[in-house]
Point group: C3
């Protein structure tokens, strides 16, 4: 379970890093709060941050609940795929938003797998009690 | 507790589904990343996704912590109301944003109830130790 | 652990309050859904809400995992700093977005401390098993 905690926390750290990069890009671009548009390179990193927040909101609860019901090894590998996928997504989106697809899929598919595993795990647990 | 896990994970799946619909709408509308405005039907589903993310961030921790301190039956019923409310919110917002109020309330009020139950549950626990 | 639950839930309640204030500001400003721009005072409170959501997504898991591995007293104090920092951030951003820095730092730095403590706590746990 502690490996899963570590992977979950690395995903949080990664998100925090993207947020930090967004803050830096705001300073550089001169986009003044509360505005979030007006500079293409600011908008790209900001979208990476927002998209990672959306993904993280699904990834974290699924990771922890799947980790309670399934092999920690399999769950950890899916978690690592997510981390690598997000990293590739970030690099690709900054370079060219049209190239973001592969990194997106590499983080989205493990998240979807973890959601399904968490739901099935909960259903099997209810089942086995009755 | 496992019923509460299942409801929490269904809320995650619902959010993931709205995210998927946003991705589809982006493709159809021709709104190119990183932009998030320019097409009314894309903007509607995107707002459903963002609003659900905001709600989910309050709903999930409240659901799990309220579930530790109160009757799992009551907590599960509030969780189901949230799921149904979000579903109605989505259908209404897509059809006409002015009609989103009922579905919004049906997911907001159970979330508020769970927040209060979780806070009271934690306070009563601290109390009973002293 | 129950003090940490309470602080986590107060952070959720604070976020919920900012969301409520955003809803009020939308009504007053006349910015019609799905739009999120067009009125400066609506945009300010909306940015407070979004920024708090981003922070909360990192704060909550870090708070709970750091709380498992470190002194609940130290973790609780960092959590209280976050709550106060977010409150100051809100008041400052509404008055003048250029003044948001101090409140931002007062919630960001405890969050970063909790992330690092959670990661180190997980690593030390893995270590001590081997």
């Amino acid at each position: 379970m502690v490996y899963i905690e570590l992977i979950g926390m690395l995903a949080v750290l990664q998100f925090f890093f993207f947020s930090f990069m967004t803050g830096l890009a705001r300073g550089k671009s001169g986009v003044k709060a509360p505005a979030v548009t007006g500079d293409e390179s600011f908008e790209r990193i900001y979208r990476v941050q927002v998209n990672t927040l959306e993904m993280l909101a699904a990834f974290l609860p699924s990771l922890f609940i799947a980790g309670k019901h399934w092999s920690p090894m399999v769950v950890s590998i899916l978690g690592l795929m997510y981390l690598i996928g997000r990293f590739i997504y970030w690099r690709a989106y900054i370079a060219n938003p049209d190239k973001r697809r592969f990194g997106f899929m590499l983080s989205m598919l493990p998240t979807l797998a973890l959601i399904i595993m968490a739901i099935l795990g909960a259903i099997f647990s209810i089942w086995s009690v009755h």
